[in-house]
Structure formats: C-alpha cells, structure tokens
C-alpha cells in the first residue's frame, strides 16, 4: 500500500512524532511505499539539526535522517511553517539574512502543495499529532 505521512507534532513533548517514525519504519520494512513524510505545524521542529537530547535517550531527528537515507525517503518541511518557527535550510537562511541554518540531513523545505500531492498519490494519508 502507498502511505502518505503527515507529522504535525514537534519532537519529545508528545509521542506523536515517535509513533509516526515507528509506523513509517514498520511500513517500509514490510514492503509498503511511503509517498512522502510531510512535517507541518510544530512538526517542522523534527527537522532541526541543533537539538542535543541526552545521550541515553533517542535522537528523534537523527533517527528520521537515518531512515531517510536507508530508504531514500522523501521528507519535507512546510516552508511557511518552518520559517515561522526558525527552521531554515542554507538558502532560506541566506535569503532571510540569518547567520545559521539548521536543516538536518534528509529533510527538505518545500510548499504545502507537497502535502496535497501526498494526499492525491497515497492510498491512505495518515496524520500524527493534533
């Protein structure tokens, strides 16, 4: 089956993005297709490279990055939601005159059209978070 994934909760505060990760990983392991993982609302915070969680805890961001690399997963942060919350890739940082970018490996910035497109392409669109 083709799944689209929307993550609308940030990391650590709620379990939603963990559950999204576990679902995505399990789906891929079982031979399903993930059309795209789209991060919206506070979900964009999953993509920050500046998080430094304690060593004895999971690192949600690097875990997503590794999954993306392993399965060539398309992970997209909504540009408008990301800009609001200070998630910038190098181009966006430069454009906004910021001296730092914080996009973790495997995450890309794109528009909300990618969310609609996932809804069109996927057999099921699953939303994790409020």
């Amino acid at each position: 089956m083709k799944f689209g994934i929307m993550v609308s909760a940030g990391p650590y505060t709620h379990q939603a993005s963990d559950t999204a990760y576990h679902f995505t990983e399990a789906a891929l392991k079982n031979g399903h297709e993930i059309v795209r993982v789209f991060f919206y609302h506070d979900g964009v915070n999953n993509g920050t490279s500046l998080g430094v969680p304690p060593q004895d805890d999971r690192n949600i961001t690097t875990r997503w990055s590794a999954l993306a690399e392993k399965y060539d997963l398309d992970m997209v942060l909504c540009v408008a939601a990301a800009q609001r919350r200070g998630l910038l890739d190098e181009d966006e940082a430069k454009r906004a005159g910021k001296d730092v970018s914080n996009m973790a490996a495997g995450f890309n910035i794109s528009g909300l059209g990618q969310l609609i497109d996932a809804g069109i392409q996927a057999d099921r669109l699953l939303v994790f978070g409020d």
Partner: protein, 135 residues
C-alpha cells in the same frame, strides 16, 4: 493530473489561541490550486472561526478572518457547519460571516457557501471523503 479526490478539511479549534485555524486555511488555499473536490467542515470550537466581526487587537495576533470570505474565489463552495456545535455555543448562522460563491453554471449567481448540517449528516459527508485533514 487526472486523479480527482474528495478532500475535506475539518476545523475543530477556535480561531485564536492556537495556530491551527490559520495553518489550516493555508493548506486549503494552496490545495485549491490542485483541482480536487474540496469541502470544509467546522465543528466544536471550530465554528468560532467563521464568527462575524472578529477583532484580535486585544491579543496582538493576526486577524486572518477576512480570508474566509475569499474561499469562494478559490471555487470552494461547500462549507459545512455542524448544527449541534452552534447550538451548544448559543450561536446560529446569523452569527457567522456570510460566505458566498459564484455558480458558473447558473449565470454566475451568488450563492451561499455555508450549509448548517446535523452531526448525522456530517458523519455521512465525512464517510464519503477520500482525504481528510483534521485541524
């Protein structure tokens, strides 16, 4: 793209106090460019999103309520408001902004976009969708 799906955006939260209503509207407006069948539903505190005369000056946040009036220009003509949610809050359709669309097949007649429906009717509408976003 030949695939046309039915998209429903369910709005359940008050317009102010969280960003969900605003970021829902942003998805709706972008999604309108995709030539899909689009409908919006407002239930629970979400019905407050359509209130007339919103004024956010006291809380210093953006008043985006006028944007709902533009939905008709984006060919969005199906806006469902749950009757029970209105009743519970002592509201009626008169408390909501008038939202209209122009019917191309009826000499561009201006028509009401808002339909007040019961929760039972809304359940059927939800059941008929392909893609549902819940904000």
């Amino acid at each position: 793209m030949a695939v046309i799906k039915k998209f429903l955006y369910v709005n359940r939260k008050a317009p102010h106090g969280s960003i969900f209503a605003l970021e829902s509207l942003e998805v709706v407006l972008i999604g309108a460019a995709f030539d899909q069948e689009v409908a919006l539903a407002f239930i629970d505190d979400g019905v407050y999103q359509l209130m007339r005369n919103q004024d956010t000056s006291g809380i210093g946040t953006k008043n985006f309520s006028a944007t709902y009036k533009a939905l008709g220009d984006y060919d969005i003509s199906k806006i469902y408001v749950e009757k029970e949610s209105l009743d519970l809050r002592g509201l009626s359709k008169d408390n909501l902004m008038p939202l209209t669309w122009e019917d191309e097949d009826d000499d561009w007649a201006e028509k009401d976009s808002i339909q007040v429906v019961s929760s039972t009717e809304l359940a059927e509408i939800i059941d008929n969708q392909d893609v549902i976003f819940n904000f």
